[in-house]
Symmetry: C2
Subunit: 283 residues, 2 copies
């Protein structure tokens, strides 16, 4: 049985799959119990929420894969029961467009909307192989030269439930904030995978783009950086194995900042791009 | 009267203002006649359409300024009558969120949705002055060393109605495509203003991010590059005077490409950022 205990989780049979599983209540309407396993400092991770809505749309739309999702975050989600309502906006030959909302109940039992998404879906396997990209993968040292939560000097000090579910190894060049010496540059880079060994699929990319510590930490800010809007483009089905994620901020101004993420697979392909607008608490 | 004839148009009294003017039919629902003046090769410009929905939301939402709009383009708009339907999704203290759809009628008189937008609005004048940006404005030669439609060797050859309404001066370094010698780099840079001298306001930024020729032209592609999704972040109220716009593509692959735009004002501030996912016709 030792073999079973160390077996890698697979797509369809993993923590991420179980925690994004939806029960169809009626066509286009789903129930889900938001897991406490994807929280950080008590807040449910925005990438996990996006993956939940992305999975609902995979069921509700005629095309299988997320190509682009734009999410506006409205109120803070809590672990526990939630409802997903979807709408088919348009069906086209190569793309279909849908909308999805995540709702929870307040103390009086009224529905409160947490997150609304517009999304266009297609078929990643139907895309031509043409690549004329000029983008280069981020330079990140090998995983054994990067740092995860397990490597923290005080074990558990930076741990949160989501940390336990991810294999996140941060580039030491973007880790100054953890030592009290932020670089002043809006950069964060890491290797990304699931702790249980599940490979990434397009839905996992929706989590990957919002899984790193905020770039604001390297800009000398502390505390929560809530997402206002997050748009992801999935460009390619990722190859098995760990992913490289690079997040960059060019403009921190007026109490807001953008975070641009790129996700690269082991085959050297740019598999996802994202941009979010987040609020900064300027000290 | 010569003075009146050469007077600069102003915000509120210009072609752009007249062509984005909406008539409120009932609360949250508006009529508009889409102008043929913002078409290029027969298609209504996506930035103009975004400005129309942005203006409707300025009326429908409690906050005055667009902070972030995410648009999914569904079907091709035509000049002529259209309806805008808006929904107030959430009202917060510093931000409110809304949704807007642009619809037109088909031959049988049925409504067809052209474009759907999720947007969060705030008050640009209420933002703190903090700027910790590391971004640098694009290096574009002065306008008199850049090239507009008037400078084309065959007058009118690259003219389209939108060209007549804009003051668009392209950086010669990104103009190789017009001479049959595309650079192979996904870059397009230009000075942007209105031909009638109207200064840019936040709504004009929604047009500015989608007004340049496609970066795909410099990558050696020709023909139409339809937008699937376009998200804009307005970061600052622009100073009067011409704007600098830089558009970059890093990843052309699988028949799609992203276009990242930055808009800088004369005060050296990054006033807007955008990213779109567009379809490429690979030759």
């Amino acid at each position: 049985m030792a073999q079973a205990a160390t077996a890698r989780a697979t797509v369809g049979d993993s923590e991420f799959d179980r925690d994004t599983a939806l029960t169809r209540r009626e066509p286009g309407v789903y129930d889900i119990d938001l897991s406490a396993g994807w929280t950080v400092f008590g807040a449910v991770n925005g990438g996990y929420l996006l993956a939940v809505l992305g999975r609902a749309l995979t069921d509700a739309l005629p095309h299988p894969d997320p190509f682009t999702l734009s999410a506006h975050y409205l109120t803070a989600s809590r672990p526990g029961p939630a409802i997903v309502r979807t709408e088919l906006v348009r069906t086209g030959r190569t793309l279909s467009t849908g909308q999805a909302s995540l709702l929870q109940y307040d103390e009086e039992g009224r529905e409160v909307e947490r997150l609304r998404v517009l999304a266009s879906y297609g078929d990643l396997d139907a895309l031509p192989d043409d690549v004329r990209t000029t983008a280069e993968p981020p330079a990140i040292p090998p995983p054994d030269q990067c740092f995860g939560a397990d490597d923290a000097p005080a074990p558990g000090s930076v741990s949160s439930p989501i940390t336990d579910r991810l294999m996140l190894k941060l580039d030491p060049a973007t880790l100054g904030w953890a030592l009290g010496e932020p670089s002043g540059k809006g950069e964060m880079r890491a290797w990304f995978g699931f702790a249980d060994g599940r490979d990434a699929d397009p839905l996992a990319l929706l989590l990957a783009v919002d899984a790193l510590p905020p770039t604001a930490f390297e800009l000398g800010l502390t505390g929560w950086v809530p997402t206002v809007e997050l748009t992801v483009h999935v460009r390619c089905r990722p190859a098995p194995g760990p992913l490289r994620v690079s997040v960059t901020t060019r403009n921190l101004a007026g109490g807001f900042l953008e975070e641009d993420a790129e996700v690269w697979d082991g085959a050297g392909r740019l598999v996802a791009q994202s941009r979010q607008l987040a609020r900064a608490r300027l000290g």
